[in-house]
């Protein structure tokens, strides 16, 4: 199995090199058999990487500790499911997962396009095979998961208990699907540039693949946040840690692209901009993988670079220059077909929206790499913490949220007073009203008030649009309002799917702002039987209990919870002491309601188990974040499906052609 995996990796590497060369020659000379052969090699890549991955899984499941990677991340007594997930517990395995996902995406892209986009496909194959070549170089020469130890240890070193939970099973693969997904739109965009066929056909494929990546990134970093919230026990879900930021950055560029592409399709503007967005999104997804895997920034010590650092830098630099070269080479063909006419137009607000996405991303990037840059430039390591990110992102986020309401409603070219009255009066009133309601509920801080008003404005504008659209349909074809609503949404998925995403965005914003501004925390030490109060909750410390199972000792506190004086249940914050690990595991107890989360951490306790210290948080509206992001992801999936309308348009066109042919 070890040899099999190893040879598969080498075979895949050779196939990748062949695919890259064959596809470029085939594309350049218009040699179809050579292109087909390169496309077949993409299928071969998938098969070889799949066999290698299955081998690695098998080595994990059968405890083959002569393999260094297996010995480092697994052990005999960890549950089977974690032996499986230990696959991506370390560097070599996660790169193999990258390669597996990339090769399967590449195969899907190639097979999907066997009979369409033929002018693009040779170059798509070049880029996909080229990117995979890089990862195969890493896997075969720099960090091979099948490297063996001279002497097999009796047992493995085990998997960090922090990584042994549900979120760590699904979070890394999903995030990787998002990161890797950005390679495919990049390949289509590059193919359009290389082939010189810059009509809208590349946009279709690129947009859909970007959506795929966008959905996975959204879900991926949210799961990371949920994991941090439920496992790390510091009461929050986002710490602006470099690795978190890395997963966030490509998302902004993907979002920017998904918006700007509409302007290109409708108005023929922002053409070059789209290519730049896709290029940067791709580079940031590679950078994200690099940050996650190399620890270049998160490492406490400067430049604790793994051996992968230079290779990643070379790949980032070469792929960026490759992309920029082609963008400038075709810059004549990328001129705008129209000029912007007014600030108060949909074109201008979309441009502003793009500027904001890119700025937020740049600010996050700047804060993330600042320690490295300051060390290079000034010789001193300077870090910027969460205050920097919070300070910079809130004004930009507020502007972005407000635009979420404005962009879809404002008229193309130039908004008129009539457009304003018709579309904005009602939502603006709603926004004002929601601000006043928040004020009435006791919110006295300006920033949250602004956000609540903006969110109210957005939500109402969305409801208003759905309502107006459905009413308009009812006029044409009298049906029930709900039927009209359904038809409306299904007929114009891009517009109404976008509204669904925006609704989720507004909800998530409300949750983020509320939990950031209005959470409280308290550190208390209680003796058995004592009580303490925080806002509308009262907690009674009943007792400490100790329990053992074969794997670990568990110590937990029993707390009775009263809400507004009424008994509402018990909470059991715990500490686990795994026998194999030196480090205790703190298990947070969370009581979630829509209104707030009561979040209790068992901080420490005395030996007699009569007294314990608790860290208690009340985080308002955290659930709205998860629900809102869930809605965003669903909206994204909805957007992926083609419009009924466009399908019917195609048939209509075809029918017309048939009629014309018959007439002739």
């Amino acid at each position: 199995m070890i040899e099999l995996g190893h040879y598969c990796l080498i075979a895949c590497f050779l196939l990748c090199v062949y695919g890259t060369v064959a596809a470029s020659l085939g594309g350049y000379r218009g040699n179809l058999p050579l292109v087909r052969s390169a496309e077949n090699s993409v299928v071969g890549n998938f098969v070889t990487v799949l066999v290698a991955s299955v081998s690695l899984c098998w080595l994990f499941l059968t405890d083959q500790y002569q393999v260094e990677y297996v010995a480092s991340y697994s052990a005999r007594d960890i549950p089977t499911v974690y032996k499986f997930t230990a696959f991506w517990g370390g560097q070599a395995g996660s790169l193999l997962l990258w390669a597996l996902v990339l090769s399967s995406f590449a195969m899907i892209a190639v097979l999907q396009n066997r009979h369409k986009n033929r002018h693009l496909m040779p170059y798509v194959t070049v880029v996909l095979s080229g990117a995979l070549t890089f990862f195969m170089i890493l896997l075969t020469f720099a960090t091979n998961p099948f490297d063996t130890l001279p002497v097999a240890p009796a047992d493995g070193q085990g998997l960090n208990p922090l990584l042994q939970n549900f979120y760590m099973i699904i979070h890394p693969p999903i995030l990787y699907l998002g990161y890797v997904g950005m390679t495919v739109p990049f390949a289509f965009a590059m193919a359009a540039l290389m082939s010189g066929r810059l009509d809208t056909s590349w946009i279709r494929s690129t947009r859909r693949w970007t959506l795929v990546s966008w959905v996975f990134l959204t879900v991926g970093f949210t799961l990371g946040g949920t994991w941090a919230y439920e496992e790390l026990g510091w009461g929050g879900y986002w710490a602006w840690d470099p690795v978190e930021n890395a997963s966030f950055m490509p998302w902004f560029f993907a979002s920017a692209f998904l918006h700007s592409v509409m302007i290109t399709e409708k108005k023929g503007m922002l053409k070059m901009w789209n290519f730049i967005l896709i290029l940067v999104a791709f580079e940031l997804s590679i950078f994200g993988t690099f940050v996650t895997r190399s620890g270049v920034i998160s490492s406490v010590h400067s430049f604790a670079l793994s051996n992968l650092g230079p290779l990643f830098v070379v790949f980032l630099a070469s792929s960026t220059s490759f992309g920029l070269f082609w963008i400038f080479y075709r810059s004549d063909q990328l001129k705008s077909e129209q000029r912007m006419q007014s600030f108060l137009s949909r074109e201008a607000t979309f441009l502003l929206n793009n500027l904001l996405f890119v700025s937020i991303c740049f600010a996050i990037f700047w804060g993330t790499v600042f320690p490295i840059i300051s060390e290079w430039v000034r010789g001193e390591k300077i870090t910027v913490g969460p205050p920097f990110f919070n300070k910079v992102t809130w004004p930009l986020g507020l502007a972005l949220l407000t635009l979420t309401g404005i962009c879809p409603l404002i008229a193309w070219r130039k908004a008129t007073a009539k457009n304003f009255r018709r579309n904005f009066l009602f939502p603006l009133g709603g926004g004002l009203l929601s601000g006043l309601i928040a004020l009435g509920l006791g919110v006295r801080l300006l920033v949250p008030l602004l956000f609540y008003s903006a969110a109210g404005f957005v939500v109402l504008s969305i409801f208003f649009e759905f309502y107006k659209g459905a009413r308009a349909r009812q006029v044409i074809r009298p049906t029930h309002f709900l039927v009209a609503l359904k038809d409306l949404t299904l007929m114009n998925k891009r517009r109404y799917g976008g509204f669904i995403v925006h609704f989720g965005v507004a909800m998530a914003f409300v949750g983020i702002i509320s939990s950031s501004f209005f959470s409280v925390e308290k550190l208390v030490t209680l003796k058995q039987g004592e009580q303490f109060e925080l806002r509308h909750y009262t907690l009674t410390f009943l007792e400490m209990v100790q329990r053992s199972d074969p794997e670990k000792d568990v110590v937990f506190a029993r707390l009775q919870v009263f809400q507004n004086g009424e008994e509402t249940g018990k909470l059991f914050p715990q500490k686990h002491f795994h026998h194999k690990s030196e480090q205790p595991m703190t298990e947070v107890a969370i009581r979630s309601t829509l209104r707030d989360d009561l979040y209790v951490v068992l901080s420490s306790f005395d030996e007699k188990l009569t007294q314990a210290t608790f860290h208690v948080f009340i985080n308002p509206l955290v659930q709205l974040i998860w629900i809102g992001i869930g809605i965003m992801a669903c909206g994204g999936i909805f957007l992926f499906f083609p419009d009924k309308k466009s399908a019917s348009k195609v048939t209509a066109l075809r029918n017309r052609k048939v009629v014309r042919d018959e007439a002739a």
């Binding site: 480092s72 517990g89 370390g90 085990g158 998997l159 960090n160 922090l162 990584l163 790390l232 026990g233 510091w234 009461g235 929050g236 710490a239 840690d241 978190e244 895997r293 190399s294 998160s298 490492s299 406490v300 010590h301 793994s306 000029r339 912007m340 600030f343 201008a348 502003l352 500027l355 700025s359 740049f362 600010a363 700047w366 600042f370 390591k381 300077i382 870090t383 910027v384 913490g385 969460p386 205050p387 920097f388 919070n390 300070k391 910079v392 004004p395 930009l396 939990s515 950031s516 959470s519 550190l523 030490t525 030196e582 480090q583 595991m585 703190t586 901080s603 420490s604 210290t613 860290h615």
Partner: protein, 145 residues
Amino acid sequence: MPTPKFLIAGSLIVGAICYLMFSGINDSMIYYYSVSELMQKESELSGEGIRVSGYVSPGTIHLDQQLSQVEFVVSEKNSEGSLPVVYQGLIPDTFKDHAEVVVEGSYHSGQKRFHATTLLAKCPSKYESKGEEHSEEIPVAQRVN
């Protein structure tokens, strides 16, 4: 080319965003020192908000249950100098003897003590001997605000 009015508006917006970023950096930047660097600049850094990294000297952790306060000494592996730290707040699971820690707070040369407001600890054990895993730096007592 875009018309002048869009160029002006665009550069105004970009300027505002740049201002936001640079003022943000200035307001929230924290110098990062090792223990020995701090010792050299002891008097000059007193009272400043800084970040220090090092290792927990074994046997120096004293936990005050009542105050939920912990006192410990941070030192470096290959050099002299040790830094007594006092910290109140949530203690990460990975915090123990020999652990690699980052403390954020300020040093008071009068008391010869570092008052930490944030304590990050990295597990010293076998788990992340190779590639880094992002669970290693565990933010505690940091709040989104």
